[in-house]
């Protein structure tokens, strides 16, 4: 991955605290799978489109996907931001901390604990904001996003969009192939585009709380015949648990293993978003945005809508249902 060049003294987004995993995302780079290039893009594309509408951007503009622990940013010029996805504390500050320093404590605050663990606290001059609304940010002001209250991921759009150079038509960070900008680090500076238009006057920002149990609609195939009837009964009749090793590539599940009817090796074949692949250990994996373009384990079925998995914390219970049951 190549880091974006310094855009110079212009409309910029400074990364004071990058958090656990904050990446640039847009609607991804479809159309290149035959060359081994994954789709990538926001794990909940509709949530990022909504955030873009709220700040007056085209829906396909690039924003940030903020994972679990939040992040702290600063706008060099006045602008509008909006957040969607997992609910979190948001504070718009004047760039000062209570002790007179600017920026965010990288080593933790002795009074409040490690900021990276507990998230930001209101600082002098801060005012609270909400997820799901356009927020006016003065020039030089900070935007502090706290940890997700429920769920995992929050999307942030900035008027003008994140203007890193597109790679194969997309600004998305692909954590599998390394295409696009690398995940944000403390001190990064991102260029912003010019605001395109007014924020949407009316929009629906119904929050999607992360339920403790996700019920996903599954269509069997293309390789359900590689599994025993008992395996398909288990898959559609047993709860699975989202594993902590899940990431943007896939949601790994743990539960009763799915026994094979065919023991051999499957020649590699093309993969789709939502494919439920079953490796040799029999534990299913649901492919998400950064999924590889081909895979060599049989896909027992495909989930219709993977966006709820963007908010599925480890330990979340997943059940599958389909037209068959």
């Amino acid at each position: 991955m190549t880091r974006p060049p310094d855009p110079g003294p212009a409309r910029r987004l400074e990364v004071l605290r990058a958090g656990a995993l904050t990446t640039v995302q847009d609607q991804g780079r479809p159309g290149w799978a035959h060359l081994g290039v994954p789709r990538s893009g926001a794990l909940d594309p509709a949530a990022l489109r909504l955030a873009n509408r709220l700040v007056g951007n085209p829906e396909d503009a690039a924003g940030l996907e903020v994972t679990l622990t939040g992040c702290t940013l600063r706008l060099t010029r006045a602008g509008t931001v909006a957040l969607t996805g997992a609910d979190a504390d948001v504070w718009i500050g004047d760039g000062r901390l209570g002790d007179g320093r600017t920026g965010d404590p990288h080593t933790g605050d002795p009074h409040t604990g490690d900021a990276r663990r507990t998230g930001p606290r209101p600082h002098l001059g801060d005012r609270p904001g909400d997820v799901g609304r356009p927020l006016a940010v003065p020039a030089g002001a900070t935007v502090r996003i706290g940890p997700a209250r429920t769920g995992l991921r929050t999307w942030l759009a900035v008027a003008g969009g994140i203007a890193v150079p597109p790679v194969l038509g997309s600004r998305s960070t692909d954590t599998l192939s390394g295409l696009g900008p690398p995940p944000l680090r403390d001190g990064d500076v991102l260029p912003l585009g010019d605001p395109a238009g007014d924020p949407a006057p009316v929009d629906v920002t119904v929050g999607r709380p992360a339920p403790p149990l996700l019920r996903l609609r599954l269509r069997l195939g293309p390789r359900d015949d590689w599994f025993t009837p008992a395996a398909l009964d288990r898959l559609l009749g047993t709860p699975y648990t989202v594993s902590p090793v899940s990431n943007r590539v896939g949601a790994r599940l743990t539960g009763v293993p799915l026994p094979r009817a065919i023991a051999g090796e499957l020649p590699s074949e093309g993969l789709v978003l939502g494919a439920v692949q079953v490796p040799a250990d029999g534990q299913p994996l649901i492919f998400l945005a950064d999924h590889p373009t081909t895979g060599g384990y049989p896909v027992v079925g495909v989930v219709d809508d993977v966006t709820p998995l963007a908010q599925a914390r480890p330990g979340t219970t997943v059940t599958f249902h389909g037209p068959q049951r």
């Binding site: 290149w32 192939s177 195939g221 590699s268 789709v272 494919a275 373009t293 495909v302």
Partner: protein, 220 residues
């Protein structure tokens, strides 16, 4: 060829062999360019062609069932079909790519052992084989090259190397491949090339797109 449904917006064409895969890849790409098929992705693989981003898979399956692809010419000259666009922007693969290879790979003696020949014969066979890109995967621009007879298939390393340098030319199973970037890898290394295989500033970004014919020529 058998058509299998894949979720709500995709189809998998299950083919008999790699030549049928190439024939269908070329046919479907041509049909898409002609406006007869709507699909965001046409992804060939070892024995299948995936159509993804298909608005009406049932209708597409009916259409495909009525089409007959031109047979692929393995390693020959008929691989190029009219309007066989391989990129969203309409680029077409070159007729043949000659890859300059320095045959000094660490696993040449291992390959020679599997084939029951000496190292010069391994190099002669690799330089003399007309390869074709069957499909890409593993990493952007990593091409699986077919053309070696199945009886020359070699196993992967029991323990993958943690880092294989970019440009490494390697064998695994019935395939040859070239690592576009440095990565871990378990294929048997036979040589290296300085050719850039994946460059996002070029259209198409992959030098070795599916269908491209390839020669692994020995450099002096």
């Amino acid at each position: 060829m058998r058509i299998r449904p894949v979720g709500a917006h995709a189809l998998l064409l299950d083919c008999d062999d790699t030549d049928q895969v190439e024939a269908w890849r070329a046919e479907l790409t041509r049909r898409r360019a002609a406006g007869e098929l709507t699909a965001v992705e046409i992804v060939p693989a070892a024995r299948t062609v995936l159509l993804d981003g298909v608005p009406d898979p049932d209708r597409a399956a009916t259409l495909v069932a009525h089409w007959t692809p031109y047979p692929a010419d393995p390693g020959g000259s008929a691989g190029d079909t009219p309007a066989a666009g391989t990129t969203p922007t309409g680029g077409t693969p070159p007729a043949e790519v000659e890859v300059p290879v320095t045959y000094d790979g660490a696993d040449l003696p291992v390959v020679a052992g599997h084939w029951g020949v000496d190292v010069p014969e391994v190099i002669a066979r690799l330089t003399g084989t007309p390869f074709r890109v069957a499909f890409c995967g593993f990493a952007p621009g990593f091409a699986y090259l077919t053309g070696l007879p199945p009886e020359w298939a070699v196993p992967r390393l029991a323990t993958p190397r943690p880092r294989v340098p970019a440009g490494s030319v390697a064998l695994a199973g019935p395939y040859a491949g070239i690592y576009p970037g440095a990565s871990p890898g378990g294929w048997l290394l036979v040589g290296r090339t300085g050719l850039t295989l994946f460059d996002v500033t070029v259209d198409p970004p992959a030098r070795l797109a599916p269908g491209t014919r390839v020669r692994l020529a020995a450099t002096a």
